[in-house]
Symmetry: C2
Subunit: 356 residues, 2 copies
């Protein structure tokens, strides 16, 4: 049996009402999917903060976006009446209007810090906010990798041109250097490994096919972190299981004696998102040695089963201290939460014979 | 007005019945989408040859594929009765069975040679045949780039895992070294430029969004041809035009004094494929300086308007000799054809003011 992650009693750790919107007259609708790292003896989270203009017009949907064609770029609002015949709506996160999909909020990344990993102080302003063409609909779901004396942030850049994977680096989590798109649309859930293997950098990523293919996990290699190739499929969905619908990388993988441990997310066909674990070959991280049969965390707590997008636990970061692995996760696409488990206990259940 | 490419009177240059199937009992259904290069004073084409087992069972559909799990890999046939309720068919190129899309033929690449560029001798056996996981459904649509003393072949690798972009290199068009997938699914139409720009390699490629985005052309940069990044969108479709449905790179771009000339394909919403031209900035090839308003070749000849997949002209290669640009193209997904035009005349119509 896979050990069950124990939820922090302080959950939710961060809620939308705790966070100051970045603009006058706006509201924060979601705080979720935080990258996590130990920085200056604190747990530092880069929280995805999704916000939108407050509206007293229940008869309309609003898509906030950055207009990068204006100089300087500024926020533009697309307002669509709910009874517009060209509108297709239903998912709280997005709608489609005249063939183009828009998001109902725009996300930025914001730092939150904690001495104990449980009580967080959230910054008053964004750390990394949308700024480019490819970020016009928002920046989302950061993963933080400490590597060779700096911190890399791989994040999702969303625009009318698609959902792509972007990279930034920082030394201090105050100023960030953008290093461009590392994967073209459609791609997300990029986790860059914290060490080179045989001289090359590695990541897991999640491209999506259009005509053929599924929401599978892939690996890629890089000489310099900015240019990637040698793509190889890591694993796919498991029909009939909790991860039958789609899968993708979660926390940045952790090197253990037995292999690279990666916490990933899997959703079933009804979009219920849970977390599982895989162990990958140390030399060839595209090879899965073991995969947990059951999830180690699945939506059960009230803040997981109901929220902005219900029945979701989704991680972008975990922190290992001693034997304790603290997993930070987005709950119901609305809250930042935490849960922990014993690394040794988890590894003991990940044996090659359990590979699915 | 864009000059119209003049069709070779010898068209079709290569037809399926001229080509020997690679297996006993099989038939070649299509010869199409050939990469083109000048090699040893001949025009060398790498022709995509699509073939399938002959069948006397009109009540069933067959998907031939390489089973890479057997050792050695061998061809496996998926046979589906046309009245199977789990079958979705209609497109002659593919069908979907229980949620998985399959192809009705499997393609390899085969060399054809000509002294005059019009009369071709086709090899009796494949030059590059499916061999890996990612090629199980076939290898397709090669582009040949001569660069730094060798020939690179960027081609499409199709499998149950998706449609991805692969790279091989060769010195002699007899032995090919595979260099892996350079773009994960979904991606195709990769054209690698024949020179570095500011020390870096460049290509155009065509990723496809799933949730957001369209069939747009993108550019990427590479230090070593195998690892790619710095993705930037080049251009999109033009609503109401001949290229309103989807676009993608065609022939390998040609360096001219005015910019990089690229012949690309565009399809309208009814999947009628035509060819157009763009001129890209010499230093930043993701910037389009000019784009032809009208196509330079559109399906009109009998062998273009009717065939395996009707109303298609699609190029993977062109050869410049003096002022004459000879465009080799697949017609109706069945024949290899050629057409030529004057480079100078084409460039004269590509002025920045005509950019769409």
């Amino acid at each position: 049996m896979v050990p069950q992650a124990e939820r922090f009693p302080q959950n939710p750790l961060i809620s939308p009402e705790q966070v100051k919107p970045s603009r006058e007259g706006w509201e924060v609708v979601s705080t979720l999917n935080a990258g996590a790292v130990l920085y200056q003896r604190e747990v530092l989270l880069l929280v995805r903060v999704a916000e939108r203009p407050m509206s007293d017009r229940p008869d309309e949907l609003i898509a906030p976006m950055l207009d990068t064609r204006s100089d300087p770029p500024r926020i533009r609002l697309l307002r669509i009446r709910r009874d517009d015949p060209d509108l297709t709506a239903g998912d709280p996160r997005m709608f489609t209007y005249r063939g183009q999909t828009y998001l109902t909020s725009i996300s930025h990344l914001r730092a939150a810090r904690s001495r104990d990993g449980r009580h967080f102080a959230v910054d008053d302003s964004p750390s990394l906010a949308p700024a480019t063409w490819y970020e016009a609909f928002g920046v989302e779901d950061p993963r933080i990798t400490e590597i060779e004396g700096r911190y890399l942030v791989s994040y999702t850049a969303v625009s009318e041109y698609g959902i792509a994977a972007a990279l930034a680096s920082t030394q201090d989590f105050k100023s960030f250097e953008r290093r461009g798109l590392i994967f073209p649309p459609e791609n997300r859930d990029v986790t860059i490994f914290p060490q080179r293997v045989n001289g090359r950098h590695i990541c897991h990523h999640r491209p999506v096919g259009h005509h053929i293919g599924a929401f599978d996990m892939w690996a890629a290699y890089s000489p310099d972190l900015q240019h990637w190739g040698e793509h190889a499929r890591v694993m796919g969905r498991r029909p009939g299981c909790w991860d039958s619908g789609r899968i993708g990388g979660g926390a940045v993988p952790i090197r253990t004696e037995r292999g690279w441990l990666a916490i990933y997310h899997g959703a079933d066909e009804s979009q219920r998102y849970s977390l599982g674990a895989i162990l990958c070959d140390l030399e060839r991280p595209e090879l899965v040695l073991a995969r947990s049969a059951q999830p180690l965390l699945t939506p059960e707590a009230p803040y997981e089963v109901e929220g902005f997008f219900s029945n979701v636990v989704f991680t972008c970061g975990a922190i290992l201290q001693g034997d304790t692995l603290s997993i930070y996760y987005g709950a119901a696409d609305e809250f930042v939460c935490g849960a922990s488990l014993s690394l040794d206990e988890l590894l003991d259940t990940l044996t090659p014979s359990q590979t699915a």
